[in-house]
């Protein structure tokens, strides 16, 4: 049985802050679509890192890169979400993020066109199922964005 707590208790405030953090997403342009990455999983946004292709990789995997002495896979965000080509010929931005659950997080990077802004997306606003790390879609100020599920992205299984 859950214990009742006054709404102004520190633990409730902490829960609310944690929930708010969970709702915050970074909007990133990838091709002709906008994606939303959970902000708590975003480590850094940097100018495009050098990507070294990996022979035999699927089209979603751009290759490998290095950041701060750490090797990590670079995913082509546009291909990951099935976006069409955008105006940029090459992805000028790399988004460094954590994938997987908090207790087993894995470093990953996304090649993208631009980091746009931080918005709040409540869990109930995400509609439709996704695959390959996409939780679904949400409407943000009239624009449909693809919401990523970075925990699912690091689950086992081949994307084919």
């Amino acid at each position: 049985m859950a214990a009742r707590q006054p709404v102004d208790s520190p633990s409730v405030e902490r829960d609310e802050r944690a929930a708010a953090r969970g709702r915050r997403h970074l909007l990133v342009r990838a091709g002709d679509q906008v994606c939303a990455l959970p902000l708590a999983s975003v480590r850094r946004v940097v100018k495009a890192l050098a990507v070294h292709p990996l022979p035999g990789a699927g089209e979603q995997l751009a290759g490998l890169t290095e950041f701060g002495g750490e090797p990590l896979p670079v995913l082509d965000l546009a291909r990951l979400v099935g976006a069409g080509p955008g105006p940029a010929a090459a992805y000028p931005v790399t988004v460094l993020a954590w994938a997987g659950p908090a207790d087993a997080r894995q470093a990953v990077a996304f090649a993208a066109d631009a980091a746009l802004e931080v918005v709040e997306i409540p869990p109930g606003a995400v509609a439709g199922g996704g695959a390959g790390g996409v939780a679904g879609e949400a409407n943000v100020e009239g624009e449909v964005v693809r919401v990523l599920d970075l925990v699912a992205l690091a689950r086992g299984g081949s994307a084919g």
């Binding site: 292709p53 990996l54 002495g69 090797p71 992205l153 086992g156």
Partner: protein, 128 residues
């Protein structure tokens, strides 16, 4: 110890010892544990690195290094890359895949044609 680009002689330095042999193949870097290397030879298509259980093809041996900080292979990689690997690491400023000698990636498979380890061309052999 990073000795720069060289051929079989460089890799031979790692035979029977610890450390790692850093290979270049298909535009990527690959790390092989020195203790797994049994011999290195040159052929028409580049180098052949002989392991206990098979052979690897390489364009060149980039370096032999005493240590690599090996990171686990993230699921986000295996999801989109249908090969096995023992880990990821960095050599210089370039990422590399640490080869699982039992299941090397196809890009490291020796070509069917041409010599692999022609007699007399082996630079070293650690098998006894």
């Amino acid at each position: 110890m990073s000795l720069g680009a060289a051929g079989p002689g460089l890799a031979a330095a790692a035979l029977g010892r610890g450390g790692w042999v850093v290979l270049e193949r298909g535009g990527g870097l690959w790390g092989v544990a020195g203790e797994d290397v049994r011999g290195v030879g040159s052929g028409a298509g580049g180098l052949t690195v002989r392991l206990a259980g098979g052979e690897l093809a390489a364009d060149r041996v980039l370096a032999v290094v005493p240590e690599l900080a090996v990171h686990p292979v993230p699921e986000a990689l295996t999801r989109f890359w249908p090969e096995a690997a023992a880990g990821l690491a960095v050599h210089g400023d370039r990422p590399l895949v640490v080869v699982d000698p039992r299941r090397p990636p196809r890009v490291l498979a020796p070509q069917d044609e041409g010599p692999h380890l022609a007699p007399g061309r082996e630079s070293a052999a650690a098998e006894s």
